[in-house]
């Protein structure tokens, strides 16, 4: 018996029933991911895709900014702050562009501060708490290695605005990668303690990396329209970079096991909700105010 308000499942192992008064029809197809599962809010794949790219940066930038005043040495406080600025700047430009395409009058601030966690489209990797310095830098490296490839692919997007944002971001991403890769090497091949922490971080984060290269209907539409690169096509080069740096760092790549996914369709970990409640609290306390 089918539930008339049933929605598509977005995880491989179990169905999620979400009632949503915006849904007009739903076909329950087991195991098939679709981004209209949780809302009718962003059903244009172009907008959804832009939100995915933007949210990755906003969430990751925010996590990096949490180190401000607490980094192990002043020089690194400045470096991490620089990266946070780059990422949040990119996110702001992308959110503004997404709001423009969507044409529902949502500004970059509306999107950043007035969407709930289930409406965010970042991958799970970036929303995890910053942990210790090893966790932060290993996560950063895994993302940067992907980001450089993604942005390279976006520079030639049929969406010219996106291409322009990507061209500037690409230079920033190359620099981020240089920095984070160097830290992975320093921590992996530093002391026994740093090696242990770096390996633990890599082990804990590995399960979140496949999501960067997963493909669903949104990605298929984007590739077809020439808006962005095929995520699957990025995976081998990413892996080669990661393998090389991990070896230089005397670390070991964890085995490929379960892939934790869901962020791309709003199925986040509990961490995002807590992060957003901090981030959005002031803006939401004064809706409509100018700052």
């Amino acid at each position: 018996m089918t539930n008339p308000i049933a929605t598509r499942s977005s995880t491989r192992s179990h169905a999620a029933f979400v009632s949503n008064k915006h849904m007009t029809s739903g076909t329950w197809v087991p195991g098939k991911r679709s981004d209209t599962a949780t809302s009718g809010i962003a059903s244009d794949p172009h907008v959804t895709y832009l939100l995915r790219v933007a949210d990755d940066r906003l969430v990751l930038g925010h996590r990096l900014s949490e180190w401000c005043g607490h980094a192990p040495i002043l020089e690194e406080d400045i470096a991490l702050g620089n990266f946070a600025l780059d990422l949040i700047g990119q996110a702001s430009a992308l959110l503004k562009h997404a709001g423009g395409i969507e044409s529902k009058g949502r500004s970059e601030d509306t999107l950043a501060y007035f969407r709930d966690a289930v409406e965010y489209r970042n991958c799970l990797l970036v929303e995890l708490p910053r942990g210790d310095f090893a966790m932060t830098l290993v996560r950063q490296f895994l993302f940067d290695a992907y980001d450089v490839l993604l942005l390279e692919g976006l520079v030639t997007s049929t969406d010219k605005t996106l291409g322009g944002i990507a061209a500037k971001a690409e230079k920033e991403a190359r620099y981020h990668l240089r920095h984070s890769a160097e830290w992975v090497r320093m921590l992996g091949d530093g002391t026994a303690e740093s090696h242990g922490r770096a390996q633990r971080a890599l082990n804990d984060l590995w399960t979140y990396t496949p999501e960067l290269f997963a493909v669903d209907d949104v990605d298929r539409a984007i590739v077809e329209r020439g808006i962005g690169p095929d995520p699957v096509g990025l995976r081998d080069r990413w892996r080669a970079t990661v393998q090389r740096v991990v070896s230089d760092a005397t670390l070991t790549l964890p085995p490929d096991e379960h892939a934790a996914t869901g962020g791309r369709t709003g199925r986040h970990t509990e961490h995002l909700g807590r992060m957003l409640s901090d981030m959005q609290s002031l803006a939401r306390a004064h809706p409509g105010a100018t700052w």
Binding site: G69, P72, I88, S194
Partner: protein, 306 residues
């Protein structure tokens, strides 16, 4: 010594390798390191609001400002190192409570408006002080000040802009900024330090052209700049004795409660313990990271030497 003081009288700049009296060196180390510590500790009250900044533009500019402060601390630490003391030792002095930092950073940032007011008052006061220090007799300090002054102007403007937007905003925002002004005004005036007759180091620092003007002169300059700015955005300053003296063309202001100042300097301000605890954690928790980087480089140099 006579030659040293003659050089100062001629307006010459003292550089790291020049002869200098031990007292001069010590005074400079004290002053410069205190200044650097202030920049670093100052990151904390403002950093407190980065994660909650209410829009992306403010989030970005606040993060950039705090980063600048880290950079300023770094420029001055490096300048201090030219006097023959290492960064590790300087940091140790801060964390063990041997060295002081500006009293103002022991106050909490309770609302977003505090961020605006800090930029307007605290950076404003710092600019008055640093503009004077740009002509200090010690070369590395003067050069650091020039670099910092260039960057600081954006900080003050940013803070003032935040305040002016709040002062023209909703009822809640107007109350928020007035409340913040009420809490930060007097501590900002105290930033310039006690009247020079009560300040033990002032006379020597002025004789050696490290300081170029007195605390009271700088404080007056700050008040004269700031009162019209407050009026321009319809914010009142919490001083019933504030009045304009047409003869001197200066703003007369009320008595400062120096008891509060000395309590805060002694370590009894609202946030002294938290500030130091945060810096200690960052330092202690970061030890393994610093060790790792040093070990990595050591291994590399051993390999290339082999």
């Amino acid at each position: 010594m006579a030659e040293f003081e003659a050089r100062l009288d001629r307006g010459e700049t003292i550089e790291p390798k020049d002869w200098m009296p031990e007292k001069y060196r010590k005074q400079l180390i004290r002053m410069m390191s205190q200044h650097a510590h202030s920049e670093i500790v100052g990151m904390l009250p403002e950093g407190n609001w980065i994660t909650r900044a209410p829009c992306l533009r403010r989030k970005i500019t606040l993060l950039a400002k705090v980063q600048d402060e880290a950079g300023h601390g770094l420029y001055i630490y490096c300048g201090t190192e030219t006097l023959g003391i290492g960064r590790e030792e300087l940091v140790d002095q801060l964390l063990t409570g041997k060295a002081k930092y500006s009293s103002i950073f022991n106050y909490p940032t309770l609302t977003w408006a505090d961020i605006g007011v800090i930029g307007w008052f605290v950076d404003g006061a710092a600019i008055v002080n640093q503009t004077m220090l740009a002509k200090t007799s010690y070369g590395p300090y003067a050069r650091a000040m020039i670099r910092i002054c260039k960057e600081e102007n954006f900080h003050k403007r940013q803070g003032y802009e935040i305040c002016s937007v709040l002062a023209a905003g909703t009822r809640a925002q107007r109350d928020m900024v007035q409340d913040a002004v009420n809490r930060w005004w007097w501590p900002s005036l105290m930033m310039f330090g006690p009247s020079d007759k009560d300040s033990p180091n002032s006379a020597e620092l002025i004789r050696w052209r490290v300081k170029r003007e007195s605390n009271d002169t700088l404080r007056q300059r700050f008040v004269d700049l700031t009162v019209p700015q407050a009026r321009a955005i319809n914010v009142s300053l919490p001083d019933p004795d504030l009045r304009y003296n047409a003869e001197t063309e200066r703003w007369h202001f009320g008595e400062i409660d120096w008891d509060e100042f000395y309590q805060v300097i002694k370590g009894n301000g609202p946030c002294n313990r938290e500030r130091l605890a945060a810096r200690r954690s960052a330092h202690d928790d970061g030890a393994w990271v610093r060790d790792a980087a040093a070990a990595y480089a050591h291994k590399r140099s051993a390999v290339s030497a082999a």
